[in-house]
């Protein structure tokens, strides 16, 4: 459009753009053999070359726009999508973030090699200028990749947390109108909330008169957890069901006493088996006699 770029920086970015356009095929061919592309496009090499082409073209258009350090430059959008898929696939195969970063960094070296080869045509000064801009462009690319990976990780963490919350709190129907929740792992506020809601919903669903909350698998009980347990028991009682807490290990029993927590309004049993016996014994006279006869 303009005749003869007077601005040296502008000239440098255009040299980079020119290089990427001219040598696009060579760059793509070299990249296709790098682990980043090779590992992702395992079926055919052509596929990898094609993907490389797309990235080279996008980088060239970023260079043409002159916004080498701008992550929001339009050319970076398709690269982000492309690389997001690739890097997440690399990450899934067990690579750390710095390993993926190194693989992305390797792309730069291939492009720099091709620039060296053109030194004779471009002249030393212009080559140096172009080199600086090329390095800048790839630095921005690395930032874009890292940012994409972090976003991806964030989503994975959120998804897994949700899955964990849902999976880790099954409600089991043990007997007619008797349900139990075996709790495993640390109880935080969010999980306690879900445990409580699941248990109370199950009480409605099974018309349960007794619910057993088994905390055998809970490593520690602090005052917050104890408070949640007591709230669950109180809610169940309001709904017309009795809630027993079982699986209180000796260490936890001591902690509860040391913390000064009053669980006297709550029925507790040492083991799930004890709680079950208690529940069945309570439910009908025959059960009670059988239990008494045993012990």
């Amino acid at each position: 459009m303009t005749d003869g770029p007077s601005d040296p920086a502008r000239a440098g970015t255009e040299a980079v753009a020119g290089l990427l356009r001219r040598r696009g095929e060579q760059v793509a061919q070299r990249w296709a053999d790098l682990p980043l592309f090779q590992a992702v496009f395992t079926v055919t090499r052509d596929e990898a070359v094609e993907a490389c082409h797309a990235v080279v073209d996008s980088l060239a258009s970023v260079a043409e726009s002159g916004r080498l350090e701008d992550l929001e430059a339009p050319g970076f959008q398709p690269i982000r999508q492309q690389l997001a898929a690739m890097t997440s696939s690399r990450a899934r195969s067990g690579l750390s973030m710095s390993q993926v970063d190194r693989e992305v960094g390797a792309l730069r070296d291939a492009a720099l090699d091709l620039l060296e080869a053109e030194t004779d045509e471009l002249g030393v000064e212009d080559t140096c200028e172009a080199r600086i801009h090329l390095v800048t462009l790839f630095a921005t690319l690395r930032v874009a990749v890292i940012e994409t990976m972090l976003q991806e990780n964030q989503e994975i963490i959120l998804r897994q947390r949700q899955q964990l919350l849902e999976m880790a709190t099954p409600v089991i129907k043990l007997w007619d109108r008797l349900v139990a929740v075996p709790l495993i792992g640390m109880l935080d506020s969010a999980r306690s909330q879900i445990v409580m809601e699941n248990l109370l919903e199950a009480i409605v669903e099974h018309k349960a008169t007794i619910a057993i909350l088994d905390i055998t698998g809970v490593p520690t009980v602090d005052s917050l957890v104890a408070q949640h347990l007591m709230k669950t028991v109180a809610s169940a009682r309001l709904m017309g069901a009795e809630c027993v807490i079982s699986g209180i290990r000796p260490a936890i029993a001591q902690t509860i006493v040391q913390l000064g927590l009053d669980l006297s309004t709550v029925t507790t049993r040492a083991t799930l088996a004890d709680a079950l016996q208690w529940a069945l014994g309570r439910d009908d006279g025959r059960g009670q006699q059988a239990v008494r006869g045993q012990s």
Partner: protein
């Protein structure tokens, strides 16, 4: 994103039956914003407590209900405004078991536990304004 009710919906609180209207409007917005059943119930109950306070202590007033947007996603915010005598000692009024109207003394203190944000502004003679807000993002930490 969507521009749901940029200006708050105003529900007057002048008599017993107005409390029903407040509860219904709060429930409707909480549902629209996507609250779970428990969170809906907590917010509606808190609103019911505070609306009754507005009626009994403030001599009537109004509830301003709106959908809000913030870091924690979407939320529902309800302000109860009256021009009554105000609350002379806010800290005392917020303590469990404090009651002036022969209730169970859990109205103010209890409703604070049912929502994410609770803001009270009152001076003797200056009327009372209580604002409660709950957010859709109740995952981390649960509702405290």
């Amino acid at each position: 994103m969507s521009q749901t009710s940029a200006e708050p919906m105003r529900v007057p609180i002048r008599k017993d039956t107005d409390l029903t209207a407040v509860r219904q409007q709060v429930r409707a917005l909480a549902q629209r914003v996507g609250f779970g059943l428990v969170q809906q119930t907590k917010l509606v109950t808190a609103a019911s407590e505070l609306a009754r306070n507005t009626l009994l202590h403030g001599g009537g007033g109004a509830a301003h209900i709106s959908v809000v947007h913030g870091e924690r996603g979407r939320g529902v915010s309800v302000s109860f405004v009256d021009s009554g005598p105000g609350i002379p000692d806010v800290d005392l009024a917020l303590s469990d078991g404090y009651s002036t109207a022969g209730g169970l003394g859990m109205g103010l203190s209890g409703s604070r536990r049912l929502v994410h944000e609770f803001d009270i502004g009152s001076g003797p003679g200056g009327g009372t304004r209580v604002t409660i807000t709950s957010w859709t993002d109740s995952l981390p930490g649960g509702i405290r």
